[in-house]
Subunit: 233 residues, 2 copies
DNA sequence: CGCGATCAAAAAGTCAGACTTATATGTCAC
DNA sequence: GTGACATATAAGTCTGACTTTTTGATCGCG
């Protein structure tokens, strides 16, 4: 799943990135390239490449005569999938999941509305297939199978919206859904009402009913938000 | 405003990045690091750093024995501010503005609703100040002054939402608003109805009326969408 | 004729060392 | 105290040699 450290600089990033996003080096901290290179036992060129990547994510800023300084959290590129993964793996995972769920709640209804207008016949077919898959795995502790279809469902919606910005959130949504199933322990079967809503969304999209698709999807994401509030109010 | 090419690798990126995002090198194109280094007259180390940054944006993929291949558009990190800037400067600026305006329409109402719940007294003050500034510059071809306050207004809303993901879209919104004023030529004064809506949003946020703030903001962004439809249906 | 193993070339990846440049900071005269 | 100047520091750059992975071609065998 996770990109297994492409090259040496990638391996360095895999430990340095999470360390920074976890706040292990507080904002304003100063790192020196040479010291880091020694610490990770790589050449300076490799370390420089790693720093460049961190810099492009706005996690750090490299300045002459001073070093590599960690930037304040507010400046990070929090939409970078890599940064999201690092943060989800770290300590503030709950807060991160909260932010992402809100983002999801804002985007997905709009995406569903657009999908109702622009979805191809093939996408409609996929959608109903996913919904049926969810129904089939909704009872009897088949959580993994349910999750797969749930993720696929929301991915299709986002792609069918025709908006590239929405489409690129597919990975984020997948991460959130997976996180809910895996981390926050779910013993019980999914809420039957949610399953029904998914089926209805698929119908609405097929029927080209934008407002209905949007409204139903909003109910789904509102449910996700309430779920969070119950877990961590 | 724009980051003036920090270092040599930055200067390389400033021409290579826009070239790639403009589709000058179609997906699947293969570049060789050494050749690029020669072309830009920089050392291989510098070019490698530039490639690493492009790679972190998922614009290209570097593989041994094959070279640096351009990835399909669908895989780009379209939320990276740098990528957004490059694309806005390029040929598909209209489509990009469209995508971003839709994104805005989805996010800002939700952000306004949250702002009504969480905005501090100081933020409320800023908000009304911005709204008044918009009113003051709404007549008599003071478009630049109007723009400044408009941008500030939406930035405050996004920050006051308390959601870091929303807050980070401040730059995007600023870019969209500025693009509308500058590129799509606006001769006339802004729509009085829009100005009024901003004032009302400020009021609603101060009053803590989340649903009203959300609804009013949705009207604002709907207006922006309709504006786009008129310009490019 | 097809198919798998082997081999060579190509390009990225890595490293080490020398050198350049910007800049923060301390020093000194005034 | 303030300004100009000197110095040290860490990033930035370049070069050349070497390593590693991977592709695709060649060759032998069934």
């Amino acid at each position: 799943m996770s990109t297994t450290g492409r090259g040496l600089h990638g391996q360095v990033l895999e430990t340095l990135g999470p360390a920074i996003t976890a706040g292990e080096y507080p904002p304003g901290s100063v790192l020196r390239t040479d010291e880091l290179a020694q610490r990770f036992d790589v050449s300076r060129s490799v370390m420089r490449e790693a720093v460049r990547v961190l810099e492009s994510m706005h996690l750090v800023e490299s300045r002459r005569r001073v070093g590599v300084t960690v930037r304040p959290k507010a400046e990070w590129n929090v939409y970078d999938p890599q940064v999201i993964r690092w943060r989800l793996a770290g300590a503030d995972r709950p807060q991160q999941l909260r932010s992402l769920t809100m983002l999801r709640s804002a985007i997905e209804p709009a995406a569903a509305g657009l999908a109702a207008k622009y979805a191809t016949a093939e996408q409609c077919a996929e959608l109903t297939e996913c919904a049926l898959g969810m129904v089939a795995h909704s009872r009897g502790h088949q959580l993994e199978g349910y999750l797969v279809h749930d993720i696929a469902f929301h991915r299709v919606i986002l792609n069918a919206s025709g908006n590239e910005m929405f489409a690129r959130l597919g990975d984020v949504v997948a991460e959130v859904l997976a996180g809910r199933t895996h981390h926050e322990v779910m013993f019980e079967d999914p809420d039957p009402a949610a399953v029904t809503l998914h089926v209805q969304v698929a119908e609405a999209v097929r029927a080209g009913d934008a407002v209905r698709a949007e409204h139903l999807t909003r109910e789904i994401t509102m449910g996700a938000l309430q779920e969070l509030d119950i877990l961590a109010p």
